[in-house]
């Protein structure tokens, strides 16, 4: 027999409405209540600690304010003082909000409600189980960073700073990614390589035992659980030993093969053995296996091997594969420019003097094909007039429906650079909107003041070549002037947008993963345009997979400084999951609230694997779902999904909720309503509404907080209805795609719940219960002005429907499940 102690808060807000002495008398009669005491305020916990230490009681119900205010403090303080008590044995019954305030004009009803709440929480606390405060999980102190661009390297510095090993895997033979291909950073107009040099300096990459950078390498597979993922990595042969290579360039001189140089986006040629660029790190040559004659046909060439003075070249090198354990993964795969050949109307690929902005970047770079001089590739001279076409594919449903965010800034940067280097060249910029956000506005204003830069508001729709002069003619409508205009130019630059690399070159690890693949999980979400899925505002670095974080342009198009910021943030998250303790919502790994499955009840229907937003489930050898507690984020959606109620979380399960519902005294003469409220939004909104003076209709019996509205099981609803509850209202956050992602922090809680309620209609009709007795409404935190009206509206609907026909069988001893399967 568990001994429950009830502590009634006697603050003024409660005593004004409720007769606490009478309440205490009534509470003493509840089964299991050993002790009823008054406390001055909900934060007055000393007496509770004393009673627990003296073993007078085992479980605690504090009847006072909303659990939103006191529950965490009470659990923390009490479990610190009395370590052998489970945090779940302490509950807070919100008699101030839900009784005293909710019925402030009806003292009798308030008195009843206070008793109902205390009864419900006493029942709940009796069935709560013992869990430790936190659990120990073995976590590998190593982070895998995919991509060694500016974001990946920055994350590596941060991770190593925290004393955690950073493994950086880069597909290219050099580090620095897209940044080293740029001519200048805006708005500082400094050389980008400086930034990479700086980071490499900070990394001390060659000597630092905590850093390992693999260039020319790829991740083949990532599987396992957060804290101990396994990654399979292949290091492709470079064919040149970077430690022996002096980068003297003799091998390139003798190499007979020439191919377009991808570093210059095809504006120049390189040999099959080449130095990626003049400032490459590692500073060593590399052999392109797709171009090298010797590698294709052994014995046919091999000139480079003969000429190399240090014997660095080994064309027989083989790829190396190895597996490594990592605690977390950071995806920093970056971006690729949009394929401009798809923009037929703008003449890319048709006219050689139509280039993209990334090619322009190479033309302006000091290590580019023209050594930084602005020379039209097809003409071999400086251009007289250059046209920049903004939004070349962006904000276009046929190409990229999003704004690429940086192209306006990049074009302004390029225009200023050209205007400085060639004062006689006229630069026309066709734009839809100049989106130089934040302080970049000053940069845009600065560009406008150059006498040879002209901004024209209009989307260029055609690029043609004048057959007589060979000039390119760009057509558009100047929407400010209200006239069609054209500009003749020697060079047309298309400001193409950023596309996530993951979409352009799907990597091998894309298909791997336990349960659902990364492809399904992270990327195949059309509304994100294949950028990595995350909650854009609340936890942007986190993907749907716990332990896997994203940063840089893998998340969305961004400039260099944002890339660096996101890399810091992702490193923070990755290290916190490796080092963190269960003190915040984020430390999922050590949270003792672990999901459990009752294989006796489980029917192997696989609903949980379908509905879990975070891919927690795989299957064991008998075909039962096997939850991975390390991936789980404790949303409880699977608890709500399971038709056989086989799943439970210690802090949210059928026993807890049903004990609360069954504690309600069923009245045969008046309607009774239960409200389930998402603790994050609707419950808080209701708290605020009641605090602001609103009152609830007397029919509302119990408001039950749930971690997500998607965690409400249909079986609880049918059971509650069969017990004689007249109406059940569910309040969750807003679903739909009005913004980039839904409001639900667990991705699609309200959507899942809506589908379940839709599917429940048939069952309810079979039970001879109106399906309208169950309703899901969208209440967010800002809806505190309308939440009570919405509840009243529902109560009116229920009143019109009349009493639940099941009321006559009330208390008929129906255990979980009405016997229907659905």
């Amino acid at each position: 027999m568990t001994k429950v102690g009830v502590y009634i808060c006697t603050c003024k807000a409660v005593t004004e409405v409720i007769d606490v002495n009478k309440l205490a008398e009534d509470v003493k009669k509840i089964e299991g209540v050993e002790l009823v005491k008054f406390i001055k305020s909900c934060y007055d916990l000393d007496e509770i600690v004393k009673d627990l230490q003296e073993k007078k009681i085992e479980r605690v119900v504090i009847a006072g304010c909303s659990p939103r205010y006191v529950l965490d403090i009470a659990r923390e303080k009490i479990t610190n003082a009395v370590p052998d008590i489970s945090p779940l044995w302490i509950e807070v019954a919100p008699i101030r909000e839900q009784a005293a305030w909710a019925f402030r004009n009806d003292k009798q009803r308030a008195q009843e409600a206070a008793l109902t709440y205390i009864k419900a929480y006493v029942a709940r606390v009796k069935v709560a189980e013992k869990i430790p405060k936190e659990i120990e999980v073995e976590r590998v102190k190593r982070v895998l960073i995919i991509g060694a661009g500016i974001a990946g390297l920055t994350a590596a510095v941060d991770v190593a700073d925290m004393g955690i090993e950073a493994i950086v895997v880069e597909k290219r033979p050099y580090v620095g990614g897209k940044v080293v291909q740029l001519a200048r950073y805006f708005p500082k107009m400094c050389p980008p390589y400086c930034g990479i040099e700086f980071i490499l300096g900070r990394l001390r990459a060659r000597a630092n035992p905590l850093i390992k950078i693999y260039t020319n390498a790829e991740v083949l597979e990532v599987y396992g659980s957060p804290g101990k993922f396994k990654a399979r990595i292949r290091v492709n042969p470079r064919y040149v030993d970077p430690e022996k290579c002096l980068a003297c360039g003799k091998c390139s001189e003798v190499c007979p093969v020439e191919v377009p140089n991808e570093f210059d986006f095809g504006l120049s040629k390189r040999k099959a053995i080449y130095l990626p660029h003049e400032l490459a790190w590692p500073y060593a040559h590399v052999v392109d296996p797709n171009a090298c004659l010797e590698l294709k046909n052994p014995g046919s060439c091999g000139k480079c091997v003969e000429v190399c003075s240090t014997g660095a070249i080994n064309l027989k090198e083989q790829p190396k594969e190895f597996e490594i354990e990592v605690g977390a993964v950071i995806v920093a795969t970056g971006w690729e420019p949009y394929d401009a050949t798809k923009l037929e109307h703008l003449g890319y690929g048709k006219y050689p003097n139509v280039i993209t902005n990334v090619q322009m970047e190479r033309l302006l770079a000091p290590n580019g094909p023209t050594k930084g001089e602005v020379i039209v590739p097809g003409l071999g001279r400086k251009p007289r007039r250059i046209v920049f076409i903004q939004c070349a594919g962006q904000r276009d449903e046929n190409h990229l429906p999003y704004c690429s965010a940086i192209c306006c800034g990049a074009t302004v940067k390029q225009a200023i650079t050209i205007a400085e280097r060639c004062p006689d060249t006229q630069i026309y910029i066709f734009y839809i909107d100049v989106r130089t956000f934040g302080l970049y506005e000053l940069f845009y204003k600065q560009a406008g003041k150059y006498p040879n830069i002209f901004f024209i508001r209009g989307r260029a729709w055609k690029v043609e070549q004048d057959p007589a002069t060979g000039e390119l003619i760009v057509y558009a409508e100047d929407t400010i002037l209200g006239r069609k205009v054209s500009v003749r130019a020697d060079l047309v630059v298309l400001a193409v947008g950023m596309v996530p690399s993951l979409r352009v070159n799907p990597p091998s690890w894309y298909k791997s993963g336990v349960g659902r693949s990364w492809e399904q999980e992270l990327l195949k979400i059309p509304r994100h345009q294949y950028f990595v899925e995350s909650d854009y505002i609340c936890f942007p670095m986190e993907t749907k997979r716990t332990g896997i974080y994203a940063c840089g342009c893998a998340m969305w198009p961004m400039d260099v400084q944002t890339s660096v910021s996101t890399a810091h943030a992702a490193a923070m998250r990755a290290t916190s999951i490796i080092l963190g303790k269960a003190r915040t919502e984020y430390s999922y790994l050590t949270d003792p609230n672990q999901i459990r499955i009752d294989t006796i009840k489980c029917t192997q229907c696989k609903r949980c694997t379908e509905e879990c937003p975070f891919d927690t489930y795989s299957f064991d050898e008998r075909g039962y779902p096997k939850p991975d507690p390390l991936k789980c984020r404790r949303c409880g959606i699977c608890v709500g999904a399971c038709p056989a109620v086989a799943l439970s979380l210690p802090y949210h399960n059928t026993d807890l909720i049903m004990s609360m519902i069954k504690s309600i005294e069923i009245k045969s003469d008046k309607p009774q309503i239960i409200v389930f409220a998402c603790v994050n939004d609707a419950y808080a909104a209701l708290d605020i509404a009641l605090k602001k003076g609103k009152t609830l209709p007397p029919e509302v019996e119990l408001v039950i907080p749930v971690p997500c509205i998607g965690s409400v099981n249909m079986r609880w609803i049918t059971d509650a209805l069969s017990l004689g509850i007249d109406g059940i209202l569910l309040m969750g956050c807003r679903s739909g795609e009005a913004t980039a992602t839904q409001q639900c922090h667990f991705i699609r809680g309200p959507d899942l719940e809506r589908t379940r309620i839709e599917n429940l209609r048939d069952t309810l009709q079979k039970m001879m219960i109106e399906p309208e007795r169950v309703k899901l409404i969208e209440i967010t935190l800002e809806d505190y002005n309308i939440v009570v009206e919405k509840i009243t509206e529902f109560v009116e609907e229920i009143k019109k429907m009349g009493l639940n026909p099941m009321k006559q069988f009330a208390g008929g001893g129906m255990e979980y499940g009405f016997g229907y399967t659905f």
Binding site: Q426, K445, P451, R457, L481, S486, R488
Partner: protein
Amino acid sequence: MTTEAGILDLSKSFDEELYNAFIKRYGVDFKACMQCATCVSVCPLSDIVPGMPRLDMLLAGLGLFDEIAKRLSPWICDQCMECSRHCPRKANPAKVLAALREIMTAKYDPTGITRRFIIGRAKAKTSKESGK
């Protein structure tokens, strides 16, 4: 100058001589104009000449002085300075209209005297040689 189908060719209509003279004489600050049209809203004369002085700012910024010649705004501007006071980018539209009056006078003065003062002798000569 308009080409076929009524399309305004910005590169052909660009009056390099007047544009350079304008920039040299009055500076580049007016090019900070972002066409927000605050000036039109506050200009007491903008119901007589639509888009005054915003369109004049735009046309001057693009060097389309032939188009400005078709407009009344440089001539009727009272220099009440309301637009300049309200301009969010301090592009000084009133000064531009005054400047355009000077430039237009220089362009059309049959004696050529104003041209010498405003556009400068050397420029005038080149222009004569090129047959303009």
